[in-house]
Structure formats: structure tokens, C-alpha cells
């Protein structure tokens, strides 16, 4: 409960203007809290007269948190390939493990995994748990969830990281529920709190309009899914030494209730969007489907991929796999060219880690310019064709 000391409250309204959830209002000279309060504590921090407090009844911690030790990375593998995010997480996990003075392990689940565990060691794992079983050939929530939960129950890691991919976001919540512990989705920053070694998990919420830092205070492990392309992998070092532990799990545990009849890889440019060095993106300013023909042409000339803002996708100008942002893909190309995109926060969270961002927009006040390396205030229908011309000339010369 958020408590308001009505004796102390002077009705200044600072809390009202601070609350991102619109949950606190000054009525009749006094702060009043409403139903939308999430107990985030922002108002408590800003109240100058100390009239606000949050009752956090200290919850009994079950078991000893220090029994849990070590950082784990779930190394996602699909269609015979380790997901790039797994290597990024080993990079992030390495730092966390060193700060905590513990080891970093990877968990590899799948079938026919020869050689992959060695790769995970080369990218930073001290230990790799491998469950190589035909029952894990296709992804099912049941089998993958049971396998990871069983390993975690036995070895008690303090932290588990997984990619915020279709697979990670599907089965990791199940693992957290089975282990009766907290999970923070879609993190963009991870660090260790100095006082108590707790994992500080930062993630965008409200379509990226706010960032929230979250802890998991009473239970272990602390589990996070992490956005792809946010963390940096370590350089591959084939000389690194690590232990590979092959685990055989009870077959009953790996029997899924859901049957995978087929697993189809669709060769849309959705696959290379996340991996493209150059991304040309269009938004509402393109006005219609035809606007995207121009974006495609620029992308072709530059050898890049085509992306879009949610506004363009919602308008039906381009299909969802091209969407970049909070509810779409995250990209981190060398060059991102935003054409006619205003830059709603929910779009920015998906592309702001690009090395160079170029924004072309009619509106000089568009928020996209706040993340832009180079900005052009102008008409996309004038600028983009000229740019296409320029690069065509360069190509032919």
C-alpha cells in the first residue's frame, strides 16, 4: 500500500506530476492515491515533506538465497544453429559472473548438438550443460521447460539469462513459474547491486515511454529475458578451457504434450533484417504503400534491408515481419536510415543502438532527431530519390 501521511502532506502536487501512471492526484489540498498505482515508489522519492511511504511487508524468504550461486545462460539453438543472442548473453553473463565472483555456465538443449558446446566455451562459458536428446529436436514448451527447470533445481544458479526471442519468451515464463521465482522480460540492461549482489534488471515499459529497474528480492534464481542485439558478445577464443557436462534426463520429463508436425523456415527478409548492416526504414510520412517502393529502392542500392515503424505496418503498407520497435524487431545495424518516421519511443527502443542513425523528416521537432547522428529536415519524397541517384552514380562509377 502507498501510505499518505495527511498531517505531513502540503498538497504541493509534486507527486502528481511525477507519477507516470497518473495514479496520484491532489484533491482538496491533499494527495489521494487511485487504483492505477503500481507502487513503483517514484512519488516517495520526490516528496519533499516525507508524506509518502510504501508499506512493504517484509516477506519471509524461503530457504537460503546464498544456496544459489553462479550465472547461467540458456543457449538457444534452433534448426542446428546457436542463436546469436546466446553469444551476446555469454558476454553479458561473463561480466555479471566476474562481479559476483562466480562461474558462468551455458545450458544447451536440443538434438544433434555436436561441436556447439565447444563453441559456447570459446565465447566465454566456464561450463556447458548439454542435454542432447531426440525429444528436444523441435522446440516445445513442455520439454524445454521441464529440462531447464530440472537442471536449475539441481544446480541452483542465482541468475538465469535467456534471449527475448520467440522461444525464450515462450518457455522461460513457464520455468519461472515452476521454480516459483521472478522473471523480468525483455531487459536492455543488467548489472549487480553493490550492497547485496542482487541483479538489477532494466527494461522498457509502456511502449518504451519509461524504463523500469526491477529486482527479484525474495526468491532465486533471478531470471531475465534479454533483447537480442543489446549486449555484446566476447571475441571468440578457441583456446579457452571449459567443462562440458553431458546430462541425461528422464525421458518421461521430455515428453511434450504438444506435437510439432512441421517446422518451416520462411525465407522472408525478416531473417536478414536483424543481421543487416544497413537498414532503411519508412514510417507514416511515406503516406502509402507506394512510398515503400522508394524505400526498397534505396535499400537495394545500398545492399540493405527494409524496415518500418508500427504506424506503417498498422496502415497495411508493409507486413509485420518488417516492424522495428518495442512490439517488433530490435536491430543494431551499422547504418539506420529513418525516412518519414517521427520516432515514437516504441520505435526508438528497437533501433537506437545502431552505430549511425540518419533521420529524414519534415518536422524539425520530431523525436527521431534526438537519436539521430545526422538529421535532415526535409521532404522524404525529395531527399530519398536524390540519395538513390547519388548512390546509383557511385555504384556505376
Amino acid at each position: 500500500m502507498l501510505r499518505i501521511d495527511i498531517e505531513a502532506c502540503i498538497g504541493c502536487g509534486i507527486c502528481e506530476s511525477t507519477c507516470t501512471f497518473g495514479a496520484i492526484k491532489v484533491e482538496g489540498g491533499q494527495a489521494v492515491v487511485g487504483d492505477t498505482c503500481t507502487l513503483c515508489g517514484s512519488c516517495v522519492d520526490v516528496c519533499e515533506v516525507g508524506a509518502l511511504s510504501i508499506d512493504r511487508e517484509e516477506k519471509a524468504i524461503k530457504g537460503n538465497l546464498s544456496d544459489w550461486s553462479g550465472v547461467w545462460v540458456y543457449a538457444e539453438c534452433r534448426h542446428g544453429r546457436i542463436a546469436p543472442v546466446a553469444l551476446e548473453l555469454l558476454g553479458a553473463g561473463r561480466k555479471l559472473a566476474e562481479k559476483r565472483g562466480v562461474s558462468l555456465s551455458a545450458v544447451l538443449l536440443g538434438s544433434k548438438l555436436e561441436g556447439m558446446a565447444e563453441d559456447l566455451v570459446a565465447y566465454g562459458a566456464d561450463k556447458v550443460f548439454v542435454v542432447d536428446d531426440p525429444a528436444l529436436a523441435s522446440f516445445t514448451d513442455d520439454a524445454y521447460g521441464n529440462a531447464l527447470s530440472a537442471l536449475a533445481k539441481k544446480h541452483k544458479p542465482e541468475i538465469i539469462l535467456a534471449g527475448a526471442t520467440a522461444i525464450g519468451r515462450s518457455f522461460i515464463p513457464r520455468v519461472a513459474t515452476t521454480l516459483a521465482t521472478g522473471l523480468t522480460a525483455d531487459c536492455t540492461d543488467l548489472s549487480i547491486r553493490d550492497e547485496d549482489g542482487a541483479l538489477l534488471q532494466t527494461r522498457p515499459a509502456f511502449g518504451g515511454n519509461i524504463m523500469a529497474t526491477i529486482v527479484c528480492p525474495h526468491t532465486r534464481p533471478q531470471i531475465s529475458t534479454v533483447r537480442p542485439l543489446v549486449m555484446k558478445p566476447l571475441a571468440r577464443d578457441a583456446g579457452r578451457k571449459g567443462e562440458i557436462v553431458v546430462v541425461n534426463l528422464d525421458t518421461a520429463m521430455l515428453k511434450p504434450r504438444v506435437k510439432v508436425l512441421d517446422s518451416v523456415v520462411e525465407d522472408l527478409d525478416r531473417v536478414n533484417l536483424s543481421e543487416a548492416d544497413i537498414v532503411v526504414a519508412g514510417g507514416r510520412g511515406l503516406e502509402n504503400e507506394k512510398g515503400f517502393a522508394m524505400i526498397r529502392e534505396l535499400a537495394d542500392v545500398l545492399g540493405g534491408a527494409v524496415a518500418a515503424s508500427r504506424a506503417a505496418v498498422d496502415s497495411g503498407w508493409i507486413p509485420y515481419p518488417h516492424q522495428v520497435g518495442q512490439t517488433g524487431k530490435t536491430v543494431a545495424p551499422k547504418i539506420y536510415i529513418a525516412c518519414g518516421i517521427s520516432g515514437a519511443i516504441q520505435h526508438l527502443v528497437g533501433m537506437q543502438s545502431a552505430d549511425t542513425i540518419i533521420a529524414i523528416n519534415r518536422d524539425a521537432d520530431a523525436p527521431i532527431f534526438d537519436v539521430a547522428t545526422y538529421g535532415i529536415v526535409g521532404d522524404v519524397f525529395e531527399i530519398v530519390p536524390k540519395l538513390i541517384e547519388k548512390f546509383k552514380e557511385r555504384k556505376s562509377s
Binding site: 507516470t20 514448451d141 515511454n209 536524390k386
Partner: protein, 259 residues
């Protein structure tokens, strides 16, 4: 077929803007809407009912105002509406939310399929669907983009993946979360609107669902928000001036070494 659809009332995130002066969300005039993904879940449930018979019950955990959204769901084809509402739920994270929804569903008891949107646009966690399935111990499938076949005991459906899709066969009862591609939601019919006006919404409190108070709201949450702040935007903001031709020439110079 008895279907439960879980729906959440959320602020219309498209309208949520950051006030550059105070760095807080300008929420004035921000509408509360049905979470857009849940709308697709509801539509799919209504289509399944129309094809195979049965009932659709919409279930929401939220403040009393969520009643309005539930009436809208009825106007779009739901038969029953249940609102689980209690001050004790305040501050619930996804763990406490799945507990509450699971207890409410145990009250409703009879179902073949539960549908949810893939995530809510305010929290974007995508955790309630899978967590709820685990609590109810039923099969779970995320990102359903198409339901191909449906019998009394099984459903065949397509699950959208990062690199394509999986074709799955799922025994019932089960829980799916759906993506937007699955359908185009209908607008309320006149008949639906009439029904929505009259319908008696079942209201359940923490006591009604026989919940353990220790598991609810902030107290029952496994995660805690310790800080909320505005995202940092760190562009160099080098603006290229001049005529369009000059702007393009400058940009070309800047880009060429990067290619």
C-alpha cells in the same frame, strides 16, 4: 467448445507521450482501451464458437472501470463476462497476476480452451499467458497465427517463430496466446451492443476466488520495481542544412566512408 478469453484494460500507448519539460508521461486524454492483442484473442474465440458451437467467457483482472471494456467484449460476441477486482491485487507482478487469474479460472472451472493476446501493450511482458498455463498445468502455445483444425479433443495451429512458423497439434484443454495476424477483429453489432448493455457481469473478489492473501498484489509478487526513469536519448543531432541537393550531398559525404 467452452472458451475463456483473458483481457486487460490498458492505456492507449500510442497516445502516451513524454512531456519534455517534466520528463513524465503526459496522460491527459489518454483513453483506456482493450489491449489490442486481446481483441484478436476474443475475435478468434468468437469465430471458433460460431463454427463449432459453445460459449465464450471474457475474464479480466483489473479495477472496477474495466467493466466497460468487458461490456465492449460482450458487444463483440462474448457470452459471459467475469471481472476479478480487489484492492488486494494492487501492485501485482505477473506472478501474482497468474495466481489470481488461475484461482478465478478454477472458480469458472469448465473450459476447453483459454485464449490470451501475446502480450499487453502497457507492460509488454508476455508472461501471463505461459505462467497461467503452467499454474493450470495445461499445454501452452505462444504466438498462434492460425488455427487450422479443431476437434473436440485437439487443435492444429500455426505458431509464429522468429525464422518462420511451426505447425502444431495440441490436446485440449490448452492455452494459446495469439498474434495480430490471426484475424481481423469485428466491430460490435447492434445486437451485441444491446446485449452488452443488459448483461450481468460476474464480479469476483479475492475472497470469492478463495485466494491466499499472501499470494496477491505487491505482497505476492516475486519482482519489485526499484526505479522508474525516462529513457536516455543520445543522438549527436548533427543537422544537415541547405537546399535538398546540398543536404543530400553532405549526407553522401558522411555516409560514403561508412559503406
Amino acid at each position: 467448445m467452452k472458451i475463456i478469453v483473458c483481457v486487460k484494460q490498458v492505456p492507449d500507448a500510442k497516445d502516451v507521450r513524454l512531456d519534455p519539460k517534466t520528463n513524465t508521461l503526459a496522460r491527459e486524454g489518454v483513453q483506456s482501451i482493450m489491449n489490442p492483442y486481446d481483441r484478436h484473442a476474443l475475435e478468434e474465440a468468437v469465430r471458433l464458437k460460431e463454427k463449432h458451437g459453445g460459449t465464450v467467457t471474457v475474464l479480466s483482472m483489473g479495477p472496477p472501470q474495466a467493466e466497460e471494456m468487458l461490456r465492449e467484449a460482450v458487444s463483440c460476441g462474448a457470452d459471459e463476462a467475469v471481472l476479478v477486482s480487489d484492492r488486494a491485487f494492487a501492485g501485482a507482478d505477473t506472478w501474482a497476476t497468474t495466481y489470481t487469474l488461475a484461482m478465478a479460472i478454477k472458480k469458472i472451472d469448465d473450459f476447453d480452451l483459454i485464449l490470451c493476446g501475446k502480450q499487453a501493450i502497457d507492460g509488454d511482458t508476455a508472461q501471463v499467458g505461459p505462467g497461467l498455463a503452467e499454474r493450470l498445468d495445461i499445454p501452452f502455445v505462444a504466438y498462434v497465427r492460425k488455427i487450422n483444425d479443431c476437434t473436440a479433443n485437439t487443435i492444429r495451429a500455426e505458431r509464429l517463430m522468429d525464422d518462420g512458423y511451426d505447425l502444431l497439434e495440441i490436446p485440449l484443454p490448452a492455452l494459446f496466446t495469439v498474434v495480430k495476424e490471426i484475424n481481423e477483429p469485428r466491430i460490435p453489432s447492434l445486437k451485441g451492443k444491446m446485449k452488452a448493455k443488459k448483461i450481468d457481469i460476474t464480479k469476483l473478489t479475492a475472497v470469492d476466488i478463495e485466494a491466499d492473501p499472501e499470494q496477491l498484489g505487491l505482497k505476492g509478487s516475486t519482482t519489485q520495481v526499484v526505479k522508474v526513469f525516462s529513457p536516455e536519448l543520445k543522438g549527436a543531432r548533427a543537422m544537415l542544412g541547405g537546399t535538398a541537393t546540398e543536404q543530400v550531398a553532405q549526407l553522401y559525404e558522411k555516409m560514403s566512408p561508412l559503406l
